[in-house]
């Protein structure tokens, strides 16, 4: 195998696939990137057996072939090369020679035959979606995923294609974020999956480089084909292919925890509320991690307190004219959705100190937050 490639294209390509490789891979081959040259393209593939990524970059291929090399070291070397023009030669066994200007590197690799192939599966459900929409939806819900490994079902984002709607849900058992949009769902194409947290991270990072993304999934696997924009000068071509295991299990019935009725609703300036909550939370501590929202006549008061640091009091004007309500929350649970959203105005719904608070926007977003009970 022998090819010539632009240094930055090579670096960009490696950057796409780098994250999958853990620092403590159990098998040496999993620390490597599979480089395959054919036609006028180079394909770079990495996998950790749960999640695999393949991207393609343009290159001048003289002799087709393949090799695997330690991806982190390779990426560091490529970034550091002096000239834009890089020659890569892996003709002699498992050794690669990289020349650029006056630099010469030789790296030992492992044969491409030993690289585990990315899983292929029967496409049971196929959807074509807009990348920017999916990115936005993921951002709106992904913070609510559980980080608790014991509740693995919740360690991911739930995708549900049903009744001409795509709904994304994430929850950690104490708050739940949901976002939906209209999608054409043909009969028989409906289905759902739980996308693991790690894949969610990768997807958020990779999306947005082109227009559409094609999602295909079965009971066990999901694949995303992320289109690369035609006029892209990063060297990436065609699409990035990401294939992942899905979390197997039944996602809890999220609908039952969304309050059916709305008792009180106020309209709030998102950024202002976020700032107030943030400030009120400054005096909270690990021991007293809560802020109280007190809603009285046209006034929202936010207070925080801890014996170590003191107390805080924030107030903002709202439009509210019902009974006084005080309810306490973990400030982080309030801040997460406020920061993730982009709208200027959000709605906050509440009932009493024992009932959940709900953030809503005019498009189909909501975030249910369970209160803290203080006695």
């Amino acid at each position: 195998m022998k090819f010539k490639i632009h240094r930055d294209h090579f670096a960009t390509g490696l950057q796409q696939v780098l994250n999958v490789v853990g620092s403590r891979a159990t098998m040496p081959i999993l620390s490597n990137v599979l480089i395959q040259a054919e036609g006028n393209q180079l394909s770079l593939t990495t996998t950790n057996l749960d999640l695999g990524i393949r991207c393609r970059i343009q290159a001048d291929v003289e002799v087709p072939g393949g090799i695997t090399l330690p991806v982190r070291k390779l990426a560091t070397i490529v970034r550091a090369l002096p000239n834009a023009e890089v020659e890569f030669d892996a003709s002699s066994g498992n050794q690669a020679k990289i020349t650029s200007g006056g630099s010469l590197f030789r790296m030992m690799g492992i044969s491409e035959d030993e690289f585990p192939p990315l899983p292929s599966f029967a496409d049971q459900h196929i959807f074509n979606l807009q990348q920017d929409e999916i990115v936005g939806m993921l951002k709106n819900v992904s913070y609510a995923q559980s980080k608790d490994e014991n509740r693995y079902i919740l360690n991911g984002v739930f995708f549900q294609f049903k009744e001409n709607q795509l709904t994304l849900v994430a929850t950690d058992g104490r708050r739940l974020a949901l976002c939906s949009k209209e999608v054409e769902v043909a009969e028989g194409n409906a289905g759902d999956l739980i996308l693991p947290a790690k894949t969610v991270d990768e997807l958020q990072r990779l999306l947005g480089q082109g227009d559409t993304v094609k999602i295909t999934f079965s009971d066990r696997q999901v694949a995303f084909e992320i289109q690369i924009a035609k006029d892209d000068d990063s060297g990436l071509v065609d699409s990035i292919y990401l294939v992942s295991k899905i979390v197997e299990g039944k996602y809890p019935d999220y609908k039952q925890v969304i309050p059916k009725e709305t008792e009180n609703r106020i309209k709030i300036e998102r950024e202002l509320l976020a700032e107030c909550v943030q400030r009120a939370a400054l005096v909270t501590s690990d021991k007293n991690n809560s802020v109280k929202l007190k809603l009285t006549n046209n006034l929202l008061e936010i207070t925080g307190s801890s014996p170590e640091y003191g107390d805080s009091h924030e107030s903002m004007a709202i439009s509210y004219e019902a009974a006084e309500v005080t309810v306490a929350f973990n400030p982080q649970f309030l801040l997460d959705p406020l920061k993730a959203l982009a709208q200027d105005e959000v709605y906050f719904e509440f009932k009493d100190e024992l009932s959940p608070g709900v953030f809503k926007t005019l498009d189909s977003f909501l975030c249910v937050i369970m209160p803290l009970r203080l006695n």
Binding site: D148, G173, L176, V283, S305, G310, R373
Partner: protein, 661 residues
């Protein structure tokens, strides 16, 4: 009929006839129970001396007491006739009727010892009553009376026991080496000596004086005499406590952190008798829980006085074991007082609940209390002028604090709730700002008119607000995964991270319980829990208590519950396991909600060691923070399980090791 009768006559004739045993055999059998080893001889005879009111007792023995034991006292002595009768079985001056057993105040009472000893040795008794002109000497060999004759001697009694167990070779075979037997005698004599500080004791082994102690004014002095000054230095006095049934507890107990690998130095005397009482031992061990490392035993000399009628000493041949009529009451009594004292020493108590009266008063009181707590030296407060300087004080927590934590300057004041706290609201100041930064930013005066008490909304936890103080430990690095090294004023300090983490959380959670301000996080998806029927019963009994500690459980059918909210501090994944642990412990009675304070402590320990997540992948800043938080703890030296959190290598020690001194 006749055949059957004949049969039965045959069968009656077959076994040997039943006979009454001669006294000598009876005595030898009894000796098997009472006199199991030379130390038992010493015990019985010295107890006799003490019962006879001796103020001076001298004990000499050779070859572990196997070949020779001599006990000499200046007690009341016996007349020649009494001396003879005393050698009969069950002859005693200490008891007249069975009812007397209930109010025994003397050490002996059965009248078994002398004949038993005499039956298994060459036994010489010399005794003279002060009002007699001459003494009497009785010589018995292996239970056989040889002679009684007059002799000259000072008032008192002198008994020589030679060739012990000569007449019972089987018993002799079971004796241990001379050294072991000697050790038993020495230990026993130490106990007796400690029990009777007003009596002078001399113990001589193979011609060498093991110890010699004159009359001592107090027990502390006696302990220092007999057990050494180092031990005495590790002890603190237990203030006199009295309770029902004439219970009166005094004694000396080890300082917090001082432990032993064996139970040998847990010494309990009940009404002046050294006993091995499980009740008292367990009370002690429980009392010391978290104050000494796990697997170590407390060091203690407990002197318990109790109405003789409330204790049965007649259940063990050597009276080593006793039984209290109300074991539970005695246990609680000892436990409470030991714990009280230990907490006093460490300044750690869960029930110092702060009830704010007015803001200013409260602040002043807290500041005052803190100052006092810090200045108070736990040490010799109640110890009446120790006759011997306490040479090696162990670091009690105040010592420790004094070493590391500078006293607060009078100008700094603890934070007080105040509504006007503008400085705290600036965004630039992170909530993790070190307390040391607060000197400047702490809100100024606390105007009495600062109205709505924040403490109405958030009841203050029992913990006092931390003083602004400089933290002077410098992080050096990590050792393995578990330890962090710090340079401190004292030298090198090694911190076990997990232990520190557990201690911090233990106190934090305990404070939640004490203040009853438990924030509970409600769950979106109630957690279904199924318990087995007996656990359900325990759960039902304590449902209210469990609820009060932050678990909202809803019954959901037979043996089924749904957890709707759990305490905020508990990671959700651990909630179920923790609750099950808790129910198990309630069921087994390990946690008793009726003893609120203890139960809180146990619950906090369970939570800190089992439930709160510990992440060993801490960055440097977090480790420093951890050490700092640890120092703010009330009892920073041990983890909730009682193991040390830090180990210190002082600069002096380092210099010594490098050969610089």
């Amino acid at each position: 009929m006749i055949v059957a009768l004949a049969d039965s006559i045959d069968s009656l004739a077959a076994p040997p006839r039943i006979r009454v045993l001669p006294d000598r055999v009876i005595n030898q059998i009894a000796a098997g129970e009472v006199i199991e080893r030379p130390a038992a001889v010493v015990k019985e005879l010295v107890e006799n001396s003490l019962d006879a009111g001796a103020t001076r007792v001298e004990v000499e023995f050779r070859n572990g007491g196997k070949s020779y034991i001599r006990i000499e006292d200046n007690g009341s002595g016996m007349s020649p006739d009494d001396a003879l009768i005393a050698l009969e079985r069950h002859a005693t001056s200490k008891l007249r009727e069975a009812d007397d057993l209930l109010k025994i105040t003397s050490l002996g009472f059965r009248g078994e010892a002398l004949p038993s000893i005499a039956s298994v040795s060459r036994f010489t008794l010399k005794t003279r009553r002060p009002d007699w002109e001459h003494g009497t000497e009785i010589f018995i060999n292996g239970g056989k009376f040889i002679h009684q004759r007059e002799c000259g001697m000072p008032a008192g009694t002198r008994i020589e026991v030679a060739h012990l167990f000569n007449s019972v070779p089987a018993r002799r075979k079971f004796l241990k080496t001379d050294n072991t037997e000697a050790a038993h005698i020495v230990h026993l004599m130490r106990l007796l000596a400690v029990a009777r500080p007003r009596t002078a004791f001399t113990l001589i082994e193979d011609g060498r004086t093991v110890f010699q102690s004159p009359e001592c004014p107090t027990m502390t002095d006696r302990v220092a005499e007999i057990w050494g000054r180092q031990v005495a230095g590790e002890l603190v006095e237990l203030p006199v406590a009295t309770g029902e049934n004439g219970l009166r507890l005094t004694g000396l107990i080890g300082k917090p952190g001082v432990g032993r690998t064996t139970r040998k130095e847990m010494i309990a005397l009940v009404n002046g008798r050294a006993v091995d009482s499980r009740t008292l031992n367990y009370a002690l061990i429980e009392g010391y829980h978290t104050f000494i490392p796990k697997g170590r035993y407390p060091l203690a000399f407990l002197f318990l006085e109790i109405d003789p009628a409330a204790v049965d000493v007649n259940i063990h041949p050597a009276k080593r074991e006793i039984r209290f009529r109300d074991e539970g009451a005695v246990r609680r009594f000892v436990l409470t007082h030991v714990q009280e004292r230990l907490r006093e020493l460490t300044g750690f108590s869960l029930n110092t609940k702060a009830v704010p009266e007015t803001l200013v008063d409260e602040a002043a009181r807290q500041a005052d209390a803190q100052l006092r707590a810090r200045e108070a030296i736990p040490e010799p407060r109640e110890i009446p002028t120790p006759a011997y300087p306490i040479t090696k004080p162990k670091p009690a927590s105040e010592d420790f604090r004094a070493k590391y934590i500078p006293k607060p300057t009078p100008t700094t004041r603890p934070w007080t709730p105040s509504k006007a706290a503008p400085a705290q609201n600036s965004v630039s100041e992170s909530k993790e700002s070190l307390p040391s930064d607060e000197d400047d930013s702490a809100p100024q005066n606390n105007a009495p008119d600062a109205v709505p008490l924040p403490s109405e909304d958030f009841p203050e936890p029992a913990s006092l607000p931390p003083e602004p103080r400089r933290f002077r430990w410098r992080f050096l690095g990590r050792l393995k995964v578990d330890y962090a090294l710090f340079e401190t004023e004292a030298g090198l300090t090694m911190l076990r991270l997990r232990a520190a983490h557990e201690r911090i959380w233990f106190e934090r959670i305990a404070a939640y319980f004490a203040s009853q301000s438990i924030a509970r996080q409600q769950l979106l998806f109630p957690l279904p829990l199924e318990f087995e029927p007996r656990a359900t019963a325990a759960l039902q009994d304590h449902l209210e208590w469990i609820d009060a500690h932050g678990f909202s459980l809803e019954e959901f059918g037979r043996n089924f519950y749904r957890l709707q909210a759990h305490p905020d501090w508990l990671p959700e994944a651990k909630a179920e396991a923790f609750l099950r642990d808790l129910v198990d412990r309630l069921r087994e009675g390990e946690i008793d909600p009726r003893r609120t304070e203890l139960a809180h402590e146990q619950l906090a320990r369970l939570a800190a060691t089992r439930a709160v997540r510990y992440d060993d992948d801490l960055p440097e800043a977090a480790i420093t923070k951890l050490a700092e938080q640890l120092l703010e703890c009330r009892q920073p030296l041990a983890c909730p399980r009682g193991r040390p959190t830090i180990v210190e290598l002082s600069s002096g020690e380092l210099r010594k090791r490098f050969g610089l001194t």
